[in-house]
């Protein structure tokens, strides 16, 4: 379900596995999928921490997005991640924002 719209089953993320010939799917086995999911969360958190947000797994079926002040939202998939992150952070999450890029570049050395 889209966490923002309430549309049931209507909004998987494009990187989610799809049972269709030709579609690029990662994580064939259950353990591969768990590993993929763990890495996704880790990568997402590297970005989200710039906005004082964290993402956690919720029983392997959803994600929990939190602010440092405890505001919490559950999202079903990564399609809702960025709109919801902007909503609870109360500001745009813009990958073209020069101040954000400068922080990343400085961290990168």
């Amino acid at each position: 379900m889209c966490a923002l719209c309430g549309v049931i089953g209507g909004n998987d993320h494009w990187t989610d596995p799809v049972a269709r010939d030709g579609v690029y799917v990662r994580g064939g086995s259950p353990s591969d999928r768990r590993r993929e999911r763990t890495r996704r969360i880790s990568e997402a958190n590297q970005i989200l921490r710039l906005f004082a947000l964290t993402l956690d797994d919720w029983q392997g079926s959803a994600y929990v997005l939190r602010t440092l002040t405890g505001k919490t939202e559950i999202i079903d998939n990564l399609a809702a991640l960025w709109p919801m992150a902007e909503r609870i952070a109360g500001r745009p999450i813009d990958p073209l924002d020069s101040s954000i890029l400068e922080r990343l570049e400085q961290a990168d050395g």
């Binding site: 909004n11 799809v18 990568e43 990564l78 960025w82 890029l101 050395g109």
Partner: protein, 385 residues
């Protein structure tokens, strides 16, 4: 009109019926093109949905009318902007096909109204909880009128968007326009959307399969389709470069295009990024989603072939604004070039900003060579020469 086999076994229907969109501004010849193409036996098992019955009569067994009913759910995200009537019309067709009440069509073509924004039509297919399990997006074909096309591009933002999101561009009414006018329009369209092969409607060799069938999910043709993206873009870039050389505008700084401030333009820019090293799929997915969430309105098209870490074969991605199609795993690289290559068609965004953002979020430290080449910002701003 070809004979349509009736009551074909349901098992023959494809698991995911491709949905093609014909779009184009008012009077650009969408229905005329469709009428002509539907005479081909290869489109005999095609269902057609149109918004309005125009002056050009269509005679096709599987022709249905839809009424517009745009639905933007309260507090909804843009990806859930769907056309209610369109979704219902396609569901009806699907159910009637399953019951055997209509021929077992294997393709659906939607003809949009001239003023339609193509995106909600496309998201309807991917967001509707029923349709997304039975239908998939096919190619978007956009018609542009050779007589009025340039003026429409000047003043009608819908027409710019329709051309920018096209997978195939058809220039119509070339018999009514001067060769010069047609040439200027073609040049402008190639700069606006260098990824889409462009055909003149006067070309009797228009083959329905090449317009509707040879997409990324055509198992035998998908590598050809990816190669076609970049071949078209390469040609447009070469033509653009030649124009600038002819005009004495050859002050390129590592491919950085110098824009003439006196030119009028649509502020639409096609830019290509290339990367030597394989990229991290997860980092790329997060970055592109983040970029499209914030700037999807300005990113009209993304098409890319990606070298993914740990994958011997490339992955093709393409997006229309916020809508990203399912990524496609290609069997082989379409040519000897094994680099990741992504083309963006953007409105009002800066190529350097996107390049820098990609480097920061996707390549990160040690994740690539950082030898990012913004290839000439390709076509530059779109305007008449």
């Amino acid at each position: 009109m070809g004979e349509v086999p009736r009551a074909r076994d349901v098992a023959e229907t494809p698991a995911f019926t491709p949905v093609n969109l014909i779009t184009g501004f008012l009077g650009s010849g969408k229905t005329t093109l469709l009428k002509r193409l539907l005479q081909s036996p290869s489109l005999a098992d095609t269902a057609v949905l149109i918004n309005e019955f125009g002056e050009v009569g269509l005679d096709h067994e599987l022709l249905e009318r839809i009424d517009e009913n745009m639905v933007l759910l309260q507090s909804g995200c843009l990806c859930c902007t769907i056309r209610g009537e369109l979704a219902q019309s396609i569901r009806d067709l699907h159910e009637r096909r399953a019951r055997g009440d209509v021929p077992a069509f294997r393709r659906l073509i939607i003809e949009s109204t001239g003023l339609a924004d193509p995106l909600p039509i496309l998201t309807t297919i991917t967001a509707d909880p029923v349709l997304r399990h039975h239908f998939r997006l096919g190619l978007v074909v956009t018609t542009v009128d050779a007589v009025n096309g340039r003026s429409q591009l000047d003043v009608q933002p819908e027409s710019v968007k329709q051309a920018a999101v096209a997978d195939r561009l058809i220039v119509t009414k070339t018999d009514l326009a001067t060769a010069t006018a047609t040439g200027l329009l073609v040049a402008r369209l190639q700069r606006l959307n260098p990824l889409a092969p462009l055909t003149l409607s006067s070309d009797d060799m228009i083959e329905p399969g090449s317009l509707f069938g040879h997409d990324l999910f055509d198992v035998d043709r998908k590598s050809d389709e990816v190669q076609r993206w970049f071949e078209s873009e390469r040609k447009a870039l070469a033509a653009s470069t030649q124009r600038h050389l002819n005009a004495g505008d050859h002050h390129h700084d590592h491919g950085h295009h110098k824009h003439d401030p006196n030119r009028h333009g649509d502020d639409i820019e096609a830019m290509a990024l290339t990367f030597d090293q394989p990229i991290d799929w997860i980092a790329f997915g997060l970055w592109l989603s983040m970029l499209l969430n914030r700037h999807g309105e300005q990113i009209l098209r993304v098409k890319g072939i990606l070298a993914i870490e740990g994958e011997p074969a490339p992955v093709a991605v393409h997006a229309v604004q916020h809508l990203v199609h399912a990524p496609v795993h290609l069997k082989t690289w379409p040519n000897a070039d094994r680099r990741t290559r992504i083309v963006f068609i953007c409105k009002g965004l800066n190529a350097d900003d996107i390049r820098r953002s990609f480097a920061a979020f996707v390549l990160k430290s040690g994740g690539g060579t950082k030898s990012i080449a913004v290839i000439a910002e390709t076509a530059g701003h779109v305007s008449d020469p």
